[in-house]
Symmetry: C2
Subunit: 204 residues, 2 copies
DNA sequence: AAATTATTTGACCGACCGGTCAAGCTCATC
DNA sequence: GATGAGCTTGACCGGTCGGTCAAATAATTT
């Protein structure tokens, strides 16, 4: 096939989905290989270890996810509306995932990060990095809203961290409670955190 | 020794600490037994499985933690002050844990819940239950603050869920980023979420 | 003190873990 | 069409996993 074998890509995709669905420790290399229809020897031709595969898989997932985030946080959209749309898309995305997999999966970066934070520093650092990239979108939107006076001035970076903490926590709760409805109305709380005067109006 | 052998209690304590420090999948029954200085056969005399031990260990941890929560949320303390003190104690507790274990450990219930939510329903349900118990303290404080007009009226249960989501998310971030400072100023954001007029004053 | 029960011991189990490897196959290049 | 690099194959490795068990021992009841 092509220069970059589809085998490698298949492993990245399958590994990410299986680990998101279950957990890092709960998914074995054998299972990943079986699902990807790849021999174990091939696996270790492309990746030096399970951890290395996982780091690559999460980076790859980010790359596939990025266009959607760029669209949601497009400069074409008023900054506060970016945030509400992001909240809504989070809910919708989790709802579809839950329908397809039979249970709520939560934030993939948060889940794997929390699981192996104290055990594998490369995976920990990758999770931290991906979360920071997501926070950057939120920070930029907040800073812009402050500049155009739709928000009172404040430390946009700190506010973005708080917003992201809230959303991460809600995703974790949704996973643990296996209830996607936990994520149904994230936006008003996000607005309260960043100090928007009238949460209800911000969506309009 | 006593009727309830200290062996059982030692296993509960050791298992909880090791799993909080690492993860469910990252700690083996053999390791727990070694650390508790107990033979594997004894382990399976007291507990039917690793999962059963863990459920009991988390319940036991709650029981040990409860007096401290009762104290923090004592009716003797004004309701909003309960929340700020709870935030501060969360920070202090994590800081000490981090000092002792060499890294930030985050919320034990959130960590194990997120890890095995989709793999073992008994552990998942226990994590959900313990989180719900914690939320109840927050809900009660919010409801009381609303009653005595230090907060505008609102759905105390929903607000408590939002507060708890935020704190859970911050604990998760602190674990992933291995930085306890993430948890340093939880209270102002909590105040913003529940609609306290002047976050800065609420501590006084 | 005999009988019964609770607890401890450590060897043992098959399954599975992450990872290795030598041998073959495929295919572009010369 | 020979060469050699890239890729695939599947058997194989030692170690560890959660869990079992029969026999020994300690504690309790009769």
């Amino acid at each position: 096939m092509g220069r970059t074998s589809h085998v490698r890509e298949k492993l990245l995709e399958v590994a990410f989905q299986m680990i998101w669905d279950h957990s890092y420790g709960g998914v074995s290399v054998d299972q990943i290989c079986a699902r990807a229809d790849v021999n174990k020897g091939s696996f270790y031709h492309y990746f030096g270890s399970k951890a290395e595969l996982v780091v690559a898989a999460y980076e790859e997932h980010w790359n596939q996810r990025r266009p959607e985030l760029d669209r949601l946080f497009s400069a074409q959209v008023p900054p506060l509306e970016r945030l509400t749309k992001w909240c809504e898309s989070t809910y919708e995305r989790q709802k579809e995932k839950a329908r397809k997999y039979g249970h709520v999966c939560g934030c993939p970066y948060g889940s794997i990060g929390g699981e192996i934070a104290t055990q594998d520093d490369r995976i920990r650092a990758k999770a931290e990095e991906l979360i920071a990239r997501g926070m950057k979108y939120v920070e930029t939107a907040i800073a812009e809203a402050q500049r155009d006076r739709s928000l009172p001035s404040g430390d946009a970076k700190r506010l973005a961290e708080q917003v992201y903490s809230y959303v991460l926590g809600a995703m974790l709760r949704a996973r643990i409670e296996n209830d996607v409805e936990v994520l149904r109305n994230l936006a008003p709380t996000v607005m309260a955190i960043i100090g928007a005067r009238n949460p209800a109006v911000a969506t309009a």
